[in-house]
């Protein structure tokens, strides 16, 4: 998240950043190895307030300053963007997808997003 936050600080005056908190990929009561003792494994939130609590702890503990939205309990946004466990997108000013990252954790690459942002901003500057 540190790399993403750096991107946010660098481009926040030109790009709207939104962190969409979606369902837990590895909850304590689901498919979770719990092999990393430094991580806190939470139960899958069962209500919207529980999801709010986890998202709130997440952005606070990880010191994320990107504005955070919380997906609804029917996971509509996560499904529409096929985003589990985590994924990066860039939406152009025209509302169309300008960049679609691969699924995390291995495909989650903030550097690729940065390249896409630079290309999009350059195209905007070149536009009449």
């Amino acid at each position: 998240m540190g790399a993403l936050d750096k991107l946010y600080q660098r481009y926040r005056d030109r790009v709207e950043f939104l962190l969409v908190y979606i369902r837990e990929a590895h909850p304590a009561d689901g498919w979770s190895a719990q092999v990393n003792p430094r991580l806190r494994y939470v139960k899958q939130p069962a209500t919207s307030t529980q999801r709010f609590q986890v998202a709130n702890s997440c952005v606070t503990d990880l010191q994320i300053s990107i504005p955070c939205l919380i997906d609804s309990m029917d996971d509509a946004t996560m499904k529409a963007y096929n985003a589990l466990p985590d994924r990066l997108y860039l939406v152009g000013k025209n509302g169309r997808i300008a960049f679609k990252g691969r699924h995390g954790p291995f495909g989650f690459k903030p550097r690729e997003l940065e390249t896409a942002i630079e290309a999009e901003l350059a195209a905007l500057e070149g536009a009449p």
Binding site: A28, R40, K43, P45, F52, S57
Partner: protein, 228 residues
């Protein structure tokens, strides 16, 4: 005789009426005294009095890991305990608790910085709890934030308020039936200090004018001075 009896009956009837009248006056006086006594009782703010055991509540925290339920610096609840509400009684015999009741439109807005400074001074000895309660009812015609209609909306407003005010005080959110607010008679804003053993050590008046932070801090000093 008949006339005399009639006069006598008339007199008895009059006395009866007078007696009924006296009885009614007595009832009215009694009732008005009762009202006056109720008025006097209302001068004492309701809610738990100093010395009483603090009524327990269990409320949803805004986020986890802000609460110190044991001697460790921060409680690391395990995953299975998450989503359990935070219970005031769980702090008994562990820590004194400073209860701050208020909402985003209350006087807390003006006193947030001073409260935060107090929190930072006493955070190692006292568990502070900000209990976000329903928004203050505005006077007719005045603008105020809409009262939240769902628990999620209430959490969102509480979270925005805590963030905006820079409060690091652990926050729990009152339930939609306003149970904690009612039992502590806390609207629109009120301060309590609960001693380690669970008794009320300090109760401010419910206020719209300004929190009595001087008396609050004095109570914190005294609650932390007693041997642990």
């Amino acid at each position: 005789m008949r006339r005399a009896r009639a006069v006598n009956e008339c007199g008895e009837e009059r006395w009866r009426r007078v007696l009924v009248g006296v009885a009614l006056v007595g009832l009215v006086v009694g009732a008005s005294r009762g009202i006056a006594e109720t008025d006097n009782a209302d001068l004492e703010p309701p809610g738990p009095a100093v010395g009483a055991l603090a009524p327990d509540f269990a409320l949803t925290p805004l986020r986890f890991y802000d609460f110190r339920l044991d001697e460790r610096e921060i409680t690391r609840q395990n995953a299975w305990e998450l989503y359990e509400p935070v219970r005031l009684g769980d702090f008994r015999n562990k820590w004194p608790v400073a209860l701050v009741f208020g909402s985003s439109a209350s006087v807390l807005r003006a006193d947030a910085r001073a409260l935060e400074a107090l929190h930072r001074s006493y955070a190692d000895r006292v568990q502070f709890l900000f209990v976000y309660i329903r928004e203050v009812r505005p006077p007719p015609g005045a603008e105020a934030p809409r009262d939240p209609e769902t628990d999620l909306e209430r959490m969102r407003i509480a979270n925005a308020f805590v963030g905006r005010m820079g409060l690091s005080i652990a926050c729990v959110v009152d339930a939609m039936d306003d149970a904690a607010m009612k039992i502590y008679a806390a609207e629109p804003a009120r301060l309590y200090v609960v001693e380690k053993e669970g008794g009320i050590a300090f109760a401010s008046d419910p206020t719209t004018a300004g929190l009595d932070l001087g008396a609050f801090e004095a109570a914190l000093v005294s609650a932390t001075a007693s041997p642990r």
